[in-house]
Homo-oligomer: 283 residues x 4
Amino acid sequence: MDRTLTLSFSCPDASGIVAEVSGFVAQHHGWITEASQHTEHDLSRFFMRVEIRASSLDFPAEEFSQRFTPLAKKFQMDWHLSDSAHPRRVILLCSKQEHCLYDLLSRHVAQDFRFIVPCVISNHESHRKVVEAHGIPFHHIPVTPENKAEAYQKMADLFRREKADFIVLARYMQVLDENLCREFSGKILNIHHSFLPSFAGAKPYHQAHRRGVKLIGATCHFVTPELDEGPIVEQDVIRVDHSDTPESMVQLGKDIEKVVLARGLRALVEDRVLLAGNKTVVF
Amino acid sequence: MDRTLTLSFSCPDASGIVAEVSGFVAQHHGWITEASQHTEHDLSRFFMRVEIRASSLDFPAEEFSQRFTPLAKKFQMDWHLSDSAHPRRVILLCSKQEHCLYDLLSRHVAQDFRFIVPCVISNHESHRKVVEAHGIPFHHIPVTPENKAEAYQKMADLFRREKADFIVLARYMQVLDENLCREFSGKILNIHHSFLPSFAGAKPYHQAHRRGVKLIGATCHFVTPELDEGPIVEQDVIRVDHSDTPESMVQLGKDIEKVVLARGLRALVEDRVLLAGNKTVVF
Amino acid sequence: MDRTLTLSFSCPDASGIVAEVSGFVAQHHGWITEASQHTEHDLSRFFMRVEIRASSLDFPAEEFSQRFTPLAKKFQMDWHLSDSAHPRRVILLCSKQEHCLYDLLSRHVAQDFRFIVPCVISNHESHRKVVEAHGIPFHHIPVTPENKAEAYQKMADLFRREKADFIVLARYMQVLDENLCREFSGKILNIHHSFLPSFAGAKPYHQAHRRGVKLIGATCHFVTPELDEGPIVEQDVIRVDHSDTPESMVQLGKDIEKVVLARGLRALVEDRVLLAGNKTVVF
Amino acid sequence: MDRTLTLSFSCPDASGIVAEVSGFVAQHHGWITEASQHTEHDLSRFFMRVEIRASSLDFPAEEFSQRFTPLAKKFQMDWHLSDSAHPRRVILLCSKQEHCLYDLLSRHVAQDFRFIVPCVISNHESHRKVVEAHGIPFHHIPVTPENKAEAYQKMADLFRREKADFIVLARYMQVLDENLCREFSGKILNIHHSFLPSFAGAKPYHQAHRRGVKLIGATCHFVTPELDEGPIVEQDVIRVDHSDTPESMVQLGKDIEKVVLARGLRALVEDRVLLAGNKTVVF
């Protein structure tokens, strides 16, 4: 794999942005391997993502940020540069259900998309063995009505100490507290087991069964203090019929939950997800 | 196509129903070409649908109802027998949008599933020519705040006079009045342009765009006096992304609206849809 | 709808293409509403498509070609400019099956994507009425083993006289002759009722049934002298199971055939399809 | 979970089969929780699957086979009875790729569908740790051109000793030898990384890339001595486009490979798969 720099930004819409950004890269003989752009008209805001082969530039990759800053300032960009030499650090949180955890561990082993898992945190001991078989530290942090504040404090400490770029709730069955949501805003990804906005809240498969829908879904979204209301990153559905019970829906749903979460995480660690108000641009 | 009798029923759950029904058919040398059954546990109710080749029976098809009645009574069945020699009569209602109407006309021409269209009713003149090119009578019944009662009276008269088995709202943009919904309960099929229960009511694609969902849907359901709350017959979804506007969603959505409505109608005219409270069993 | 210019091209891969093209547009204050690019590494070839709002340019739309020519030459572009003020002219060919024809007529009425149908040609009279109800001329050109050459000559004359940009075989059941394929290379779109390369040739649903596949498909591709071997533009599939017969597959398949063909045509008339050897880039 | 008996059979088509089978169950007060039937007309063969709650019968579950035998003989059934009290034993074979193995281990942990994994066999050591973390024995059996016969002998011994009901090739990258295929005919399930019959043989994603298809697929099928020609149990596809390389297709394909294999295995251990010549009936 060649070393790659990924530049992503949003800024007030204006003419000439693409020309100047691609001009900057071209002037330094940079090879753009992928480029995407989008204008969000309601916000008059422009979004762009560019992947550049690091070795093609006529300056060291480490200098990109500094050299690009004037252009970023000119267009008032909210921008981010990431370097494939420094993969993202993703902490996984899980409870008793195994499917999302196993799926992400499997992808971590394959490195089909690159990410580091500094540790796994769970409110149960169930998955310690399999996590540790991967050489990944496992932290058991029980959460009870009494110790909640303290437990979330411990987690926040781990997030900071491990320099987590992202936190993934891989069917973690506790509601995070507001402070965590605020401090790590735009960094915590959740998988909800319904096709939001339908069936927000608890027991979505039971709600779906009661309403008699013919498809059930899963939604990967950013966590915000408002439960199940955060920006949606990815969704998918699977067909059910009258013979399905809430229990069989729970089972069927796992197959989309894990895929939808993984697609969301991949987009995130590859800098494909940009926030646009309460929505996302996913390049 | 061989002549086929289709028996469909629901009844209180009990043991031995399948044995007695299939025994009755076997005893008369009937050839069952398709059979489906389901128990709705919440309602303790059993549902069954059986297709029988008419020519295989040792009595004339016309006698089936009379001969089956004792069994139907024994199990307190809510039952229906239909005969492929008498295809269902389906009145189509449309407004200005063309996609569902053209799709159903195309299926009517093909007779992939069999139904008769005694007439098309619209609150606009737009589609008169194409409907009449099929030899189908076209009735223009404008609906205004002032003439509403009268207009719906006219429609009800047509429904009755034409002996409609079913009425299909093929993107008909008027809300039917309660009396119509009541009188023709279980006979009126609508296509709603969202994945219900999300985005019920007006302008669902605009609601979907605002929420930033990654899939949009369509729902075929029975019309009840409660808007968009009737039993769901069929649903499907299609992928959208950040580059879609409400307008492009409207266009994309057409491709699922027409398919979902057609699948719903097919199930209906083939006696595959049985009501189970506010849900459907679709065999 | 604003007037739009769409520039699409491919050229030998080189650095700086995006910068120069977007620089040219920016320098004339052009507003790019959509842009896509792709490098086909096997061919060392670069592909790009740019939509520009015509009114934003500081010169008349009519001058774009002339002004852009030097840049096109510099990069040895194989390029095309189209103008939304001049929608593409698409001749439809059909036989007895109705589903693709009705679907395209419905889209023509809606103009969700813009195209003109100068005429419909068929080897059967079946659909004359419905075509003429749209005010579209209908030409019945029977094709027999004896009159083949003459029939295809007539068609070629119509294609030329009507200045067809594209010809769509909407389940047209005759194999076009080589001369037609050659003269209108890259302009004739076909829908094949299988997921190519599986089940090329005749009766694909029967082949699929024999092999016991669990999904059947449809493929929209360019027509070349080699039957069913042309570049693929779009494909999709639909689920079947053991209870399906070849006949029911034929019926089910219609629902994907028409959608796949329509998506292919839309991409074509919007200049989203670029040829890359025997493959396509579809932006 | 209630104890369940599952009866599945095929037999020459005749009238009265359903009536007699359901009559037998009803006469012993058996509660049928699921029933499916199908006639394969080309073979004049009837297929049926019935799930019965064991506790509802008026005789011990252990006596079912003996009591049912006369009926089975009468209709010349090829039949099988399975008992949820004795879950199926499934040996997994894998190589270096992890996705199918992890997915099946995850399902084994969850027991969403019930199966026992007596051991995992691999021609590589890669996954020993994670397998053993589940308390499942891991056998490393390298396969080289020289030791092939001996290696397959070892495997056959394990299959027999562990009383495997089924063997799953979870992306096992060696071609099994003919003797194994013959001895364990109808018991070995493979996942092929293409939408068969397209792209049989080696490197299907590279073949797919070369042909420019717009969807790639995966096929779960029984292993027969003819490579990639065995009866198909399940298939699915995923969308790709011009920007995908063979390498990215390999990655994308994993998400369908594992789901398709798991669905196939589930159907198998639940006695939903019946062979009908070179095709399958999947209830």
